[in-house]
Symmetry: C2
């Protein structure tokens, strides 16, 4: 024992390590699948002449945002103002905050962001517009403001034409604000399991957005941008003739929840996000206990799946324990799995990525790179 309290955590992995050497829990990106997903979504948007603005809330990493932009994305969405800061610092120059915010601290953040990048914001209340307009005017910045319309999610967004008109008029009235168009997202239809149900629901949503845009057009107000959609409806949104921009996030990772959807043709993104876990207790015959629990995987959309191991099923997460049931098979039970590595496919990628500080990037079972999750925890 020394009296020197300087102690430094070892890195979770080093470039060139084998996958088996990666210390667990670790959040892995399998680069081949990841790059495939990035390219496919960019190609699909390009083919339909629709802009792609991926949602950075899914990955919270400026390295990934840069790769998405290199593949053709015009910028990114963030869901919170503070979340945008590391992307600005990394040089991303076009950011849209696709979510409402309120209060002087948040307005000050918005103004600060607008001083650095091409910023657009989203509102659904006249008070948000008034506060923002005054602050933008005082700061001498011009900010593009979109109005969120409710297309079925029944959460945020105006649901009536007169409400929309009030907000658009409020934006137009402020010299420092520009009306950018409509924000329209229906999260509830992204995970409808059958392809056909998603197709018809996406069409109904697009029709609703179109009605809002037509209402504004009849009042002589152009809608430069209609933005929305997610991973589950992107293929329909790009072909809708209504959306001019899509905002998918999860497509780069493809979590287990989205994997449970039925996908047409080759449209299903590939699973690229995994959690490396290690079995650290085998004291019971019918379970193996791994080192990934609630602090290593989000379970709001179901338990993680075990990759390429039919003998194990993840059945329970405690704080730092994951309980894997050994499927009833005499050979499976006989083997002592202590120390074995298991790869988990998280049920929901967004809150899972928010638990980690780094992605360990794997190609051909080797660590190729390590990327910071630089917007982790930035929820303000």
């Amino acid at each position: 024992m020394t009296t020197d309290f300087s102690i430094k955590l070892p890195p979770i992995a080093k470039r060139g390590d084998t996958l088996a050497q990666v210390s667990t829990p670790a959040l892995l990106i399998e680069l081949d699948a990841f790059e495939h997903n990035i390219a496919c979504m960019a190609d699909m948007a390009r083919q339909h002449g629709v802009a792609l603005r991926p949602h950075a809330k899914a990955h919270k990493s400026s390295v990934i945002a840069q790769k998405q932009i290199a593949a053709g994305a015009i910028g990114i969405c963030c869901q919170k103002l503070s979340e945008a800061y590391p992307f600005v610092a990394a040089g991303i120059s076009d950011i849209y905050i696709s979510n409402e915010f309120v209060g002087p601290a948040k307005v000050a953040m918005a103004i600060e962001l607008a001083r650095h990048v091409k910023l657009s914001l989203c509102v659904d209340h006249i008070a948000q517009i008034e506060a923002l307009g005054l602050a933008a005017d005082a700061a001498g910045v011009v900010i593009t403001v979109l109005v969120e319309v409710d297309i079925g999610q029944a959460r945020c967004g105006v649901a009536r034409m007169e409400g929309l008109a009030t907000l658009v008029d409020g934006i137009v009235r402020h010299p420092a604000l520009r009306f950018g168009g409509l924000q329209a997202f229906h999260g509830g239809i992204q995970h409808l399991t059958t392809w056909d149900l998603r197709r018809t629901s996406a069409a109904a949503s697009a029709d609703k957005v179109a009605t809002y845009a037509q209402f504004l057009a009849a009042r002589g107000i152009a809608c430069p941008l209609i933005t929305g959609g997610g991973t589950g409806t992107a293929e329909f949104d790009v072909a809708s003739g209504v959306f001019t921009e899509i905002q998918p996030g999860s497509y780069i990772f493809m979590d287990a929840h989205y994997g449970a959807n039925e996908w047409a043709g080759n449209k299903m993104p590939r699973h690229s996000l995994f959690i490396a876990a290690t079995i650290m207790s085998t004291a019971k015959n019918d379970i193996a206990v791994c080192d990934v629990g609630l602090k290593g995987v989000a379970i709001d959309s179901g338990m993680p799946l075990v990759k390429q191991d039919d003998e194990l099923k993840f059945i329970r997460a405690n704080d730092e324990h994951g309980v894997l049931k050994i499927i009833d098979n005499p050979d499976a039970i006989a083997r002592d799995r202590l120390g074995e590595q298991v790869l988990l496919i998280p049920g929901h990628c967004d809150p899972t990525a928010n638990l980690y500080d780094q992605y360990v990037c794997i190609r051909n079972d080797r660590v190729e790179d390590i990327w910071d999750i630089d917007a982790r925890g930035l929820s303000q």
Copy 2:
């Protein structure tokens, strides 16, 4: 717009701010309740002559660990080896890792920790003992090792006397290892709702631990330490005559899940952990939408409760949205709550604290201090 990408996030709060000024989402500690909880548990352990070793997995903050030790705790528990590092760096000198681990990277961490502090570890497999013994011997350190016994949780820990004997013999055989005693935790009984059911279950668990200790005593092996228990059973564990040390974690915060328990007399810890949220969309009549979702509160043990507001019920969490139902009351619905601050009591404190980087400490509705959550995310 400038070409200067240097941009710096504002602090979430400053000392002296009013609670209303704290930017949200923010994780709050109400200091009066928190200090009450720390003092009560320390007093209870002291009165029964039982050591208190609080579980740092609940708070992950070296400032809080220091306060627990100042109140009489003899050291802390961590649940992961990496989690212990910031506590070592902060000068905590007695750390017990109350959970199994496996593999060379983890053994190397254990040896590094043992060079700095009085370390004790927990095993339930002979292979863990062999690897640790060899490494400790090579490094010239002596490590205390406890054996986890299963007292009903059916997760980790040996469940048979011969298994216990094998492990204790394995520890005793290694010159660099010392047999420290028994780890015995039954998480499942911590949240039994009625006081009487917890009392009888805790008694049954203590009886099981005693059987293991008696088995060892009959073989001439003393058990210096019997450690375990949690917030829900602490009052019974200290009086059991079996446990020599207790490991409660949540008692400092008292989450909604523990709050649903029935408590006797004045034994119920006070709620001291809250999430400050802001209502940022009121576009629907029957709900208010706040800025705390899955990335701001863990929902594995139920939705958060709304503090001191009978008109709102938290019913759904999306990534960055929390949906609050407005209870059916014409006056409640009529008021536009945009911008109002709401305090949430998280369902489960441990994974909620793990989402934040700082605690904003409040007394008399003012920010008194800000504490780093320096072990956040350290799950290796």
